[in-house]
């Protein structure tokens, strides 16, 4: 364990508490001693965790704890920000993510990402969904049609849009737009699906539908989801990691984290005493 810097206001916590159940799972994504700086400010402190295959893993923690930063580090979206520096590495199915030789574009094609605010592209619903294939140069109409239908069915929005695939993606309602983005994210059969607070901009009904969808995706996709919503984390995830001030505090099966947390900070947070 690397030494913690002196800059945090909180007393430096000890090593993260990682429950034994996590270690038994087969990992898709292996985060190994990962730290990140925005310029001089350190945002992530030596995070090590393994994301199990075919499960939903939730990242929880108060605002500014680095959940989103960690998520965006997985597909290297943070590369786009000037002055970002990292240490440590991550591995996707054994392949290094941060190695110099890695082609970022190829890497991102292996993952799907859903953002906090739905961001359909200014094009038709159909083109939105097949976008990952289009940029890969796929032009076979049969393949595209098939992927489009499969992804839209996968995102539980097929029945609502099947008759208007050629209308603009921006003409859908907020919840539909978010499910459209999920369809887009799963179109290229990603190895990991990253979700950054996918329901925070949605009303309760739309949230419910997206949560149902996440439950459906479980098994066929590995999902790493950032959420502010405790109920959502407890309802829809298998594993939960609690982060605080850029550090991983506790990581284990969701039931354990919510019912029998080992750490006091975790207990305080999940029971709503702070955060």
């Amino acid at each position: 364990m690397a030494a913690f810097g002196p800059s945090t206001a909180q007393p430096a916590p000890g090593a993260p508490e990682i429950h034994a159940a996590v270690a038994n799972e087969e990992a898709v994504l292996d985060i190994d001693g990962f730290s990140l700086w925005y310029g001089a400010a350190r945002a992530l402190w030596d995070i090590s965790m393994r994301i199990p295959r075919g499960k939903v893993t939730a990242l929880i923690g108060p605002s500014g704890c680095g959940k989103s930063t960690l998520l965006r580090s997985v597909n290297r979206l943070n590369d786009l920000i000037d002055g970002v520096r990292i240490e440590g590495d991550m591995r996707l199915n054994g392949d290094s993510i941060y190695d110099r030789a890695v082609d970022v574009i190829e890497l991102r094609k292996r993952m799907g990402m859903v953002f906090q605010k739905s961001n359909p592209f200014p094009m038709s619903i159909y083109e939105n969904v097949v976008y990952p294939l289009r940029i890969d140069g796929v032009t076979d109409k049969r393949v595209l049609d098939e992927v489009c239908e499969r992804s839209l069915r996968g995102a539980a929005i097929w029945d609502e849009v099947k008759d208007r695939l050629q209308t603009s993606g921006l003409s859908l309602s907020g919840g539909q737009q978010q499910r459209l983005c999920i369809a887009r994210a799963i179109a290229a059969e990603p190895e990991v699906l990253l979700m950054d607070e996918p329901c925070s901009a949605l009303d309760p009904i739309a949230t419910g539908r997206v949560e149902d969808l996440i439950a459906d995706l479980k098994g066929s996709y590995t999902v790493l989801i950032v959420t502010h919503n405790m109920q959502q984390a407890s309802r829809s995830s298998d594993y939960t990691a609690f982060m605080y001030l850029g550090r991983l505090v506790e990581y284990g099966p969701t039931d354990d984290i919510f019912m029998r947390p080992h750490r006091k900070e975790t207990e305080d947070y999940v029971s709503g005493r702070f955060g």
Binding site: L80, I105, R108, K109, F115, M123, R184, A188
Partner: protein, 574 residues
């Protein structure tokens, strides 16, 4: 009034100051808007009213003056003035001063004077004449008055007295002569049109072939380094002889037509009673203003507008049409847009998407913005020095050496004008495009990157389509600015009269090196360079009106495209 409630004493309402409420700001902002709108409406209204009324045929007048002389023509405008004694004496002569004074006194000390278009320039030596109403003994609107608009010498006012065919009188008296004229007129015009075609198209083609032949010889000379081979010279001689023979044949036909047309003459009596022969073929349009009903007047109006829009100018641009200027303006503006939009968009893309933010980028941005403040004439000087004299001269050296010392591209032309204006409007496009690019939400870019798109794929598929309406706005602004610009064009290619359009039927069909006519320059030329400025003045308004209409049309087309793009990318069907 009820008694005050002791529980709820009336609260003293503190008088809110007007400024705190913000009322004066509403007035102020509203006043500013009203000022802007009234200026625009005033300007456009003036142009519209003056421009639209120019071609309406007015009544003809016949004025008998106090000294017995007669003035016939059309009243173009009137004004009130207080005449001095000297002026009265000068106008009416010593004998009639008392009579004139009486009239002025009866009118309350003021006199009206009319500017009468008297025409008949070859006889009278002037186009217009002021006539004060105290000088008029009798005012009439004779039904037999005829207005001729002629190919040369401007308008003619008179009364037909007889008609002659090949020197033989065929009709006598006003009505018969007029009928004979009306019968003969279309045929004469048709022959004149044939003659014009022969001169412009056929003779033009022969002349073009002649110069081609000469250039071929010249090329052979340059190749041989001095004297062309005997064979080349012989070929040139044969070709030239052939062409000369054809030219002679065409000229003979022209002479024959002229001779035929010379035989159709209407004899007109003018104001002072003299008889003047007028070739029927010289008359563009003839009408009797005082017998016209509204439909007849509308007919004249339509016919004049038709001529204005579709014909070439004549009489130093003060008459005829402005078709070459319309064509030149539109082609030049489109050419400019084709050049400026891609360059500006690419430059803005680099500046916004690729260049690292820093001192250099900001400096470039500031420099581009300042470019918009450089006086347009400076761009004209630059265009002349760089495009015409440097680039154009080099092109001439390389490709058109046989024509030297006559410049081909080494002088003002439509291409250099378009490039100069493109340079001038570049900042508009760059700034607008940058704004549009900056307005594309970063969430969309991130979404694209997260799908594994490269930077270029993201720009091409997400950023550019989303920014397209904003980019179109920039293009519209650039077009509006470019189409109305005159000053730089005077240096790099716009001319008073360009008989050849930049696009025609002679290979290579599009002639970028040709100078061209431009509506904006035409307005300047009519208003300030015309020898007959009084006659040209109404044309200034109509030409301005037309320029505004052309710009509005171009803008509306661009706005339509933008609207359909916007609808396409924000909802709606694909």
């Amino acid at each position: 009034m009820s008694a005050p409630d002791p529980k709820h004493p009336a609260r003293r309402v503190r008088a809110l100051s007007l400024f705190a409420v913000g009322e004066p700001w509403i007035w102020l902002t509203n006043a500013a808007l009203v000022l802007c709108v009234s200026m625009i409406v005033g300007l456009v209204g003036l142009v519209l009213v003056e421009g639209a009324s120019t071609f309406w045929p007015t009544d003809g007048v016949r004025l008998r003056l106090l000294d017995g002389s007669v003035v016939i023509g059309e009243v173009t405008r009137s004004e009130l003035h207080a005449p001095t004694d000297v002026a009265i004496r000068e106008q009416v002569g010593e004998a009639h001063v008392a009579q004139a004074r009486e009239k002025i006194a009866a009118a309350g000390g003021e006199a009206r004077r009319d500017l009468v278009r008297i025409g008949n320039y070859e006889v009278t030596g002037e186009h217009f004449r002021w006539v004060s109403d105290f000088n008029v003994a009798e005012r009439g609107a004779p039904k037999d008055l005829v207005v001729f608009e002629r190919v040369t010498w401007g308008r003619f006012y008179g009364t037909p007295v007889r008609f002659e065919r090949a020197g033989v009188k065929t009709a006598d008296g006003t009505e018969d002569a007029w009928r004979a004229f009306e019968e003969a007129h279309p045929g004469c015009r048709e022959r004149l049109e044939t003659r014009r075609r022969l001169e412009r198209v056929d003779l033009g083609r022969v002349n073009h072939a002649l110069s081609e032949a000469r250039l071929t010889l010249r090329r052979a000379e340059i190749r041989a380094g001095g004297v062309a081979s005997e064979a080349d010279q012989a070929a040139w001689r044969t070709r030239t002889a052939e062409l000369e023979a054809e030219a002679t044949r065409i000229r003979d036909r022209i002479v024959a037509i002229d001779k035929e047309n010379d035989g159709w003459v209407v004899i007109m009596r003018i104001a002072d009673g003299k008889e003047v022969p007028i070739r029927v073929a010289d008359v563009v349009r003839a009408y009797r203003p005082n017998t016209l009903d509204t439909a007849g007047r509308l007919g004249v109006l339509v016919s004049r507008w038709r001529e204005f829009l579709l014909d070439e100018p004549r009489e130093a641009n003060s008459e005829g049409g402005v078709w070459p200027a319309i064509f030149g303006t539109v082609v030049m503006t489109l050419l400019m847009s084709i050049v400026v939009v891609p360059i500006g968009v690419l430059a803005a893309l680099y500046l916004r998407e690729y260049a690292k933010a820093g001192v250099v980028t900001s400096s470039v941005r500031i420099a581009v913005n300042n470019l918009a403040g450089v006086p347009s004439i400076v761009f004209g000087v630059f265009g002349l020095g760089f495009f015409c004299y440097t680039v154009g001269a080099s092109i001439d050296q390389l490709l058109f050496a046989e024509k030297l010392p006559n410049p081909t591209f080494g002088t003002g032309g439509i291409l250099w004008s378009a490039l100069t204006l493109a340079l001038m409007t570049l900042p508009v496009v760059i700034v607008a495009t940058e704004e549009a690019l900056a307005a594309v939400p970063s969430s969309m870019r991130e979404g694209s990157y997260a799908c594994g798109a490269s930077k270029w794929q993201t720009i091409r598929r997400i950023v550019l389509p989303k920014a397209l309406p904003g980019i179109m706005t920039g293009a519209i602004l650039a077009m509006a600015r470019g189409a109305g610009e005159v000053a730089p064009l005077m240096l790099v290619g716009a001319v008073k009269l360009a008989p050849e359009l930049p696009v025609d039927g002679i290979f290579p069909y599009v002639h970028f090196e040709r100078s061209f006519m431009h509506l904006g320059f035409h307005v300047y030329d009519l208003g300030f360079q015309s020898p007959n400025s009084e006659a040209a003045k109404p044309m200034v308004y109509t030409t301005t009106l037309l320029l505004i209409l052309v710009i509005v049309t171009l803008n509306l087309a661009a706005i339509r495209i933008r609207t359909s793009l916007r609808r396409r990318y924000a909802g709606g069907q694909f």
